[in-house]
Chain length 661, copies 2
């Protein structure tokens, strides 16, 4: 055991820290990192301690002095200002000078003799002066002179407590026996879209305005204004690559396909190319690049699908047979989860001896699209590829392109989902899709935002996906779609829908399943996007509320409040300074009228019990003046199923009339 | 980043683990270590995983296969069989053969073609056969033959699932790509007294039967039978060394002492010697060794006080001035906590450049007494000496003498107390002394036994000490002493009292303080040990109950139950197999009658709601037949303030009469 017996300060239980520092925490540009730790020394001596932070390349650490909160817990805050990585740790030591000052004060107050103590203090100052710059040394020596010559007890103590002397003694303190935390922890800093994003998923091949025609990137361009009008800022396209012919799936996932069947876009690769190629019916690489450019006019970004699997016709199969698993009969191993078979897709064999080359090739796929302007990837089934691959890939890409974001589409066991987030995924799909009751929402969201999961797992809530038409949407009608949208959009600062089925309230499922009937995964579809009953205006309104209210632009700030009706979910979201206070009340029942009393913690918002306040429903534009904690709400089916209240405090003014902030 | 891309299994959140493995957990000989961890691989493959454990010197790890509990959490148990250190960790990998079997079964059940799958299985068996012993290889090749030749589907699958084949495939599995946890964790294993000990503290100088005479080790010998009769197994002596003269304290901590004042035993050292010497009035080293020998007849051990400080007359001061702090006026620095001064004791200056020599000398003090037969030390104020010193000292001593136990007398801030326990102290003083209400007991004990504190912090409950006569004992009379004793003795498996003041219910304090009037710390005292009202028989009874009931010999098994009266504390302690079930009900009110309904979780004990059961009060010997969960209890002041019920289930027999186990 290597020991330095003179290092007396202990630094432990540093937060935030993920798995002993094995993984970084996550922040966005401009966010704070609040660092706390238990820090103490033996005996009664005072402790000094700093949070240290820097970029990995920097030579010098920035020091932020920590403050003692309570029970030996110290705290300091630093702000991350750019994308990329920051490091942080803690150092600390015994503060002999401050200890001396404290004891001097006590002895002075108890009328004890302090003459020898002043001599001890002079020793400390002399020590520090030897580490000081020439100017500061002069100042310190002057203090020594004053302490030596001053005869008045009271005045001597005043000199010892001078602020300038304290600052110099801190600056030139002896750090030889400082302890350090022993680990450097890291923060990955993303741009804001990492936590605040509004996704619209749509198959480009179904974007043609002409029924029966295969959609193109040009058709995608044409619908950008409408997507922007709804308030989305990410347009996510399922795979855009050539689709294999061998074992192509027919409509409704039929194992037999006809000549006109278009197949699943996830069966990537044909003689026309693989993961770096574009399906010829969608257009050319130039068309794609023009689409990317066009999205910028609408503050929309394209998100591409990273589906690392191949159709049997993918060029890789012939060029790199060593990347696939071959069966003893000479056939190639397709994807399966017995007894289910996915004959149109081959998994990569990540246990191949040539895993390094495979990893490099897959990285080159990502870089290929990044260089064409794509900065967001939705990753298909990451949990079926090795964890270390993702950690490597995401680090490699982000070290060069720190603005790239990866959304993990892992609908699997909770610990696997969390682990993928730990090792680098920017955002993650969640169980929101299957949460239904008030209790389920409260439990799940509490787990996401009130445990250390919040340090690395950024939820993205999806009411539906091409794979999932949940039962509540099959049977709840239009109100259910509105309810799910409001929950997704206000509980989570990132959410997405699969359109146009969502905004058109499509609810026809395969019998007994949570899957779409005639799924777009296997055919080109066409819709009347403006048909009566569509939710486009409603979605636009909800997304406008999100844009205009910073309280809805983070997830971790959600707080649930009480309601006496089990169908009513009530929660608040506020900015840290309470300048933006939102209060959401959702009726989970799509069939019946529901009403009840809800309880708002108005004193937390800075509203007194006897003070009226205005709640302004940003959905209906209704305004109500409320008093006190308990208030009544009522919902009727086929009206709006929720309130998104902005809470406005009444300003107390000395004029004749009051108005609301 | 060093990566092996083919290691696919993740092992995280291993429990028990203290601060990322920085500190060992603690166990006693024969105890279990239940190891759990989150373990998973990408995809759908099955995982194999073992807990590995060994002694530090062993070459080979012992493997204990883990079992999946739920939600990717795996568990295995190993038992520590000797004192000293054990190491443990986890390894795991993808189990291709078990995965293959699972999928084969599914395909068989779904009536799919399994011919190619059998060929895949044969490949796995062929691989393993190349790692097998000659005999086992023959067996494996025989299975391959059977699989190749068997034409019947059903029979082929039976062969694949043969138990022998499975065992051999596990034994010879490919471990090349196994993951390991990356850290080796450690367990310190103590003898049983580390968790089950009953302490009696007494000043040897006050043990003389003759009033006014200075007690000796011979007097200590004489009272051993009485101490044993009360049921104590540790006899703890405050410091037994020569006491300094300079600045000696008088009675009641007076700064002035007279010729006949004996001083505080914690002012260690005079011209007669220091920490390795014996106060001449107590006897000689031979006398001390005879006392040690004599204690063995009574199954009692002597615990010595380790108080690392010196009187100004200690030989160290002259011989090693560099181990002390000297003030600018040439005087030596005494202990102080301004404005309080302790002029009769000098702290060591652990910041000395010669700290290594100082540490070695202090270690030699411990070894000196260990070699004279002492195996238990009560350490005075460890929190005023550097933490790294204690970690080093305890490790050094225990590596040679693993049966040595150290009790930390740190009455300080909670995190400091826990840290001392983490770095090696066997037992610790606690806040029990100042806990009074039902809620305080439940909160504090829950913190001790239901958080990971239980892995390293072993409480020792003291109702009083020479330093502390708590207010409830000053005003609660004899009932208060009984209440505190029962709480200490049944909540914690280790506890101690400072006698004879405790058993004589001495309650006179310095006015307004929680300190004894005329404290034995500063004078030789004498008592009538058998005076009326003494608690010796009561204490003997309580300690006999502790010895006869294994449920009281651990602390972590305590469970609190409901009572409708706030003065009644109810808790249960059971052995793991429920062969010993104790139920303790304590009336915290020393002044009034209290009664109420208490609720016992009888179904946990294996008692049905309609089944009568016997509760046998081991204090009063009263027996009661109870039914169901809710039962009534009543206490009168000056009767016994508690029940310690042994719960006896009724045996259901097919004879005419039932009786109680």
């Amino acid at each position: 055991m290597k020991i330095d017996g003179k290092k007396r300060v202990v630094i432990e239980n540093l937060q935030p820290e993920i798995d002993g520092g094995r993984f970084p925490i996550k922040r966005i540009v401009g966010e704070k990192v609040v660092v706390t730790a238990d820090i103490f020394a033996d005996g009664h001596d005072t402790v000094w301690t700093n949070v240290l932070c820097k970029r990995p390349g920097d030579n010098k650490w920035k020091e932020v002095p920590m403050k003692l909160r309570e029970n030996d817990r110290w705290e300091a805050v630093f702000v991350v200002e750019e994308t990329g990585t920051y490091l942080y740790t803690i150092e600390g030591g015994v503060d002999h000078f401050t200890t001396w000052r404290r004891d001097l004060r006590k002895k002075f107050d108890a009328n004890q003799d302090i003459r020898v103590d002043i001599l001890v203090g002079i020793q400390y100052i002399t020590d520090s002066s030897q580490r000081a710059s020439a100017d500061d040394k002069k100042t310190l020596l002057a203090y020594i002179d004053m302490l030596k010559t001053e005869k008045n007890r009271q005045k001597t103590v005043s000199i010892a407590f001078s602020e300038e002397l304290g600052n110099l003694m801190n600056e030139y303190r002896d750090r030889k026996f400082a302890s350090n935390y022993g680990k450097e922890l890291s923060v990955i800093v993303d741009r804001k879209k990492a936590i605040f994003s509004t996704w619209y998923e749509r198959f480009p091949r179904s974007c043609s305005p002409e029924p029966g025609k295969h959609g193109t990137f040009k058709d995608c361009e044409a619908i950008l204004p409408e997507i922007a009008k709804m308030g989305f800022d990410v347009f996510y396209l399922p795979p855009i690559h050539p689709i294999g012919r061998t074992n192509r799936k027919g409509k409704n996932n039929s194992p037999v396909s006809g000549q006109n069947d278009v197949g699943s876009p996830w069966a990537i690769g044909s003689q026309e190319g693989g993961h770096k190629s574009i399906h010829p019916h969608l257009g050319t690489l130039e068309d794609f690049e023009r689409l990317i450019n066009k999205t910028r006019d609408y503050d929309i970004e394209i998100a591409l699908d990273l589906a690392f699997q191949c159709s049997p016709d993918h060029p890789y199969v012939a060029e790199h047979p060593e990347w696939f698993k071959w069966r003893p009969d000479g056939s190639v191993q397709y994807a399966e989860n017995p007894p289910k078979k996915y004959e149109d897709a081959l998994p990569f064999n990540f246990e191949t001896e040539q895993w390094r080359q495979l990893w490099e090739e897959l990285k080159s796929v990502v870089v290929f699209w990044v260089e064409r302007g794509v900065r967001i990837f939705r990753v298909d089934n990451p949990h079926t590829k090795p964890f270390s691959f993702w950690e490597w890939l995401i680090n490699e890409v982000k070290s060069k392109y720190p603005d790239v974001l990866f959304l993990s589409e892992a609908f699997t066991r909770p610990k696997v989902m969390y682990y993928l987030a730990k090792l680098g995924f920017t955002q993650s799909y969640t169980y929101f899709t299957w949460r239904n009751t008030k209790r389920e929402f409260i439990e799940y969201i509490t787990e996401l935002v009130q445990t250390n999961v919040r340090e690395y797992f950024r939820p993205n809530f999806w009411p539906n996906t091409p794979d999932i038409l949940p039962e509540h949407l099959q049977y709840g009608g239009r109100p259910a779609f509105m309810i799910r949208l409001i929950l997704a959009a206000t509980l989570s600062s990132s959410y997405g829908i699969f359109g146009p089925d969502f905004e058109l309230c499509v609810s026809e499922a395969l019998p007994g399943k949570e899957e779409y009937l005639n799924s777009e995964k296997y055919e080109v579809k066409h819709c009347d996007w403006d048909r009566p009953g569509n939710l486009k205006d409603f979605i636009a309104r909800v997304n406008r509320v999100r844009k205009e209210n910073p309280a809805l632009q983070t997830t971790g700030n959600v707080q649930f409040y009480e309601a006496d009706n089990g169908y009513l979910v009530v929660y608040g979201k506020t900015t840290e300074d309470f300048s933006n206070i939102l209060l959401v009340v959702v009726n989970l029942d799509p069939y019946h009228s529901q009403s009840g009393w809800i309880r708002i913690p108005i004193n937390k918002f800075g509203i007194d019990a006897d003070q009226p306040y205005l709640v302004h429903d940003l959905l209906s534009d209704g305004k109500y003046i409320w008093h006190g904690e308990n208030n009544y709400v009522e919902f009727k089916p086929h009206n709006l199923p929720a309130h998104i209240f902005k809470v406005r405090k009444k300003l107390k003014r000395e004029t004749d009339f009051d108005y609301f902030l």
